[in-house]
């Protein structure tokens, strides 16, 4: 019996692949992404803290807007104090609606990851024509401020159609974060050539854990520590990527920032920190693309 398949990557087992290191012999690449999002008022999709799938109101809009007004800046201050590099997955519409915000992010030199147009929509049901238009809009908006196009893409809610990765490759993207299938990067086949999948977490992600699964802030902080400690041990055998997905309106709440600050401080004090490469996803992608042929088999 044959089932529908994606045909985008072959099967491969983590401990049976050619070995490699991150730069300077490091073994665990660590990166953190903060999603910065623009929502429609009173329409479309958007998370709510009390009720999953709640209607869009000023209440949940306001709760999410806290992220851009307050949360993001407190998170950035924390990461700067911890000396952790960060990247931002930014909705294209933030570029039009909040130019002063994006100017600050670009001035910091953090990596910007294209994050769809708005998190009030999900790409899954779009026609190819409209999705291509969406991707182009976002790329143009980010390039206009950053002078170079974004290298990576993360769809709102990991949303993709059957042709998203074809369109991304055709639009010049180098890597995508929508396929949480591995702890290492791997190549995806597209109609326009290979596109790199870089690990980005569905679970070590504050929207999944704190909003959908309703875990407490301290529980999420424990997950971060557990993930880090186990991967630091596992990476002796294989080079791995530890990725943390945060959203300004979720982890920017002071009580969550407090728990996260302690967890990250604990991780950074680990005796095996010498194995760690504090990085951004674009650097991880470029390092993989520059590995000798055959290390990361291309489709």
């Amino acid at each position: 019996m044959k089932l529908p398949e994606h045909n985008r990557y072959p099967f491969s087992i983590i401990d049976k692949r050619p070995g490699y290191d991150w730069p300077a012999g490091k073994r665990l690449a660590v990166y953190i992404t903060i999603s910065v999002e623009h929502f429609a008022f009173g329409a479309g999709l958007g998370e709510d803290i009390s009720t999953l799938g709640a209607p869009q109101t000023q209440r949940n809009f306001g709760w999410r807007d806290y992220g851009q007004r307050v949360g993001l800046w407190n998170m950035i201050e924390m990461f700067d104090a911890l000396k952790l590099p960060i990247s931002h997955a930014v909705n294209g519409l933030v570029y039009r609606e909040r130019p002063e915000l994006v100017a600050r992010l670009h001035a910091r030199g953090d990596e910007i990851i294209a994050h769809g147009r708005t998190s009030s929509e999900i790409q899954n049901d779009m026609w190819e024509h409209d999705e291509a238009h969406l991707i182009r809009e976002v790329t143009v908006a980010i390039t206009a401020v950053g002078s170079k196009p974004p290298a990576g893409w993360l769809g709102p809610a990991f949303g993709e159609t059957r042709v998203t990765i074809d369109l991304l490759k055709e639009d010049g993207y180098e890597y995508v974060l929508d396929w949480p299938a591995d702890d290492q990067p791997f190549w995806l086949t597209t109609r326009a050539g290979p596109l790199l999948s870089v690990p980005y977490p569905l679970e070590l992600n504050d929207v999944t854990a704190l909003l959908h699964r309703r875990h407490a802030a301290r529980e999420f902080a424990d997950m971060v520590v557990n993930q880090f400690e186990v991967m630091l041990s596992q990476c002796a055998k294989e080079p791995l990527v530890f990725a943390l997905g945060l959203h300004a309106y979720v982890s920017g709440q002071p009580f969550r920032l407090h728990a996260l600050r302690k967890a990250l401080g604990h991780c950074l004090a680990h005796r095996d920190m010498d194995r760690v490469w504090l990085a951004r996803p674009g650097q991880i992608a470029r390092h993989c693309m520059n590995l000798p042929d055959g290390i990361l088999p291309r489709p």
């Binding site: 019996m1 087992i13 949480p180 875990h215 529980e219 997950m223």
Partner: protein, 288 residues
């Protein structure tokens, strides 16, 4: 009623049969049913949740195999038969470990409850034959995808040569069930100490699940002084193989493997439990 039944022992006078069951499943891409850590069993099927489940095949199951090897524990694997053709390396590692395979349908993307008897009979035959071809022995136990039964599933399974089923979750001891052409043993398997139900549907944390495993064992190791029991845990590679959960699982399993009363424990597999019960005199196991 459990406390009114004849008392018996497991082999060597043991009283607590303990086994680990994993669920190693093959999915259709973009259609059918399948879980998502945000949406439990709901949510549309996309690359997001397919990839998250594929992590279990690429990474998670290998971490679990290594952990079980380290602890020298066998496991029973509820295996989608399509794993035999699509992920033969995983099946080969199971065979190398000497683990047991439990019939688990063709794919986790479908449910038996939606099938006519003819189609259910054919599905059972196809999946059994596929495992026999890959594993060299056929499975004698069944745990259906989503534990979903039709009114005739028990009959279909018994007629297909299955000796035991694991999807009724109604007892801590095995007992015999009547089928239209004979009988079939019901072997305990957990609905609650099960990472799919607890982590995905109830959305509890990894620590809470690890605590459940420890508490279940600690309670049953005392209960078993009075009567033979079966203690079992159910795992999925894409959940328990995630690094933030793996360490906690390791600690819970070490608590069990190194328990001061481990001399009461028969570290075993469901097929061996079924064989032991089938060999007991009539009247000992309920329903016999």
């Amino acid at each position: 009623m459990i406390d009114r039944r004849p008392v018996y022992d497991w082999p060597d006078g043991k009283r607590l049969a303990f086994y680990i069951g994993t669920n190693v499943e093959y999915f259709a891409f973009g259609t059918g049913v399948g879980s998502d850590p945000a949406f439990g069993s709901g949510g549309r099927q996309t690359q997001r949740n397919y990839a998250w489940r594929d992590y279990g095949h690429r990474v998670g199951i290998w971490r679990l195999f290594d952990l079980l090897d380290e602890l020298k524990l066998p496991a029973a694997h509820n295996l989608s038969s399509l794993m035999c053709t699509h992920r033969p390396e995983i099946v080969e590692r199971m065979r190398a470990r000497g683990d047991e395979i439990i019939g688990h349908g063709r794919t986790q993307s479908e449910r038996q409850i939606a099938m006519w008897e003819d189609d259910e009979t054919r599905m059972v035959a196809e999946s059994t034959a596929a495992i026999q071809a890959a594993y060299r022995t056929r499975p004698y136990g069944w745990m259906g995808p989503g534990m979903s039964h039709t009114p005739v599933t028990i009959d279909v399974l018994q007629e297909a040569g299955y000796k035991f089923v694991m999807d009724w979750c109604c007892d801590d001891q095995p007992f015999w069930m009547k089928a239209r052409a004979g009988r079939i043993l019901c072997v305990p398997y957990p609905l609650e100490v099960n990472d799919s139900v607890t982590l995905l549907f109830r959305q509890q944390t990894a620590s809470e699940f690890a605590d459940m495993i420890v508490d279940q064992f600690d309670e049953m190791i005392e209960q078993c002084v009075k009567r033979p029991l079966v203690c079992t845990i159910a795992l999925h590679p894409m959940t328990m193989g995630q690094p933030f959960r793996l360490g906690l699982l390791g600690s819970a399993l070490k608590h069990i493997a190194n328990h001061p009363q481990r001399d009461r424990v028969w570290f075993t597999l469901p097929g061996r439990i079924a064989e032991h019960c089938a060999g007991l005199p009539a009247g000992i196991v309920p329903g016999s």
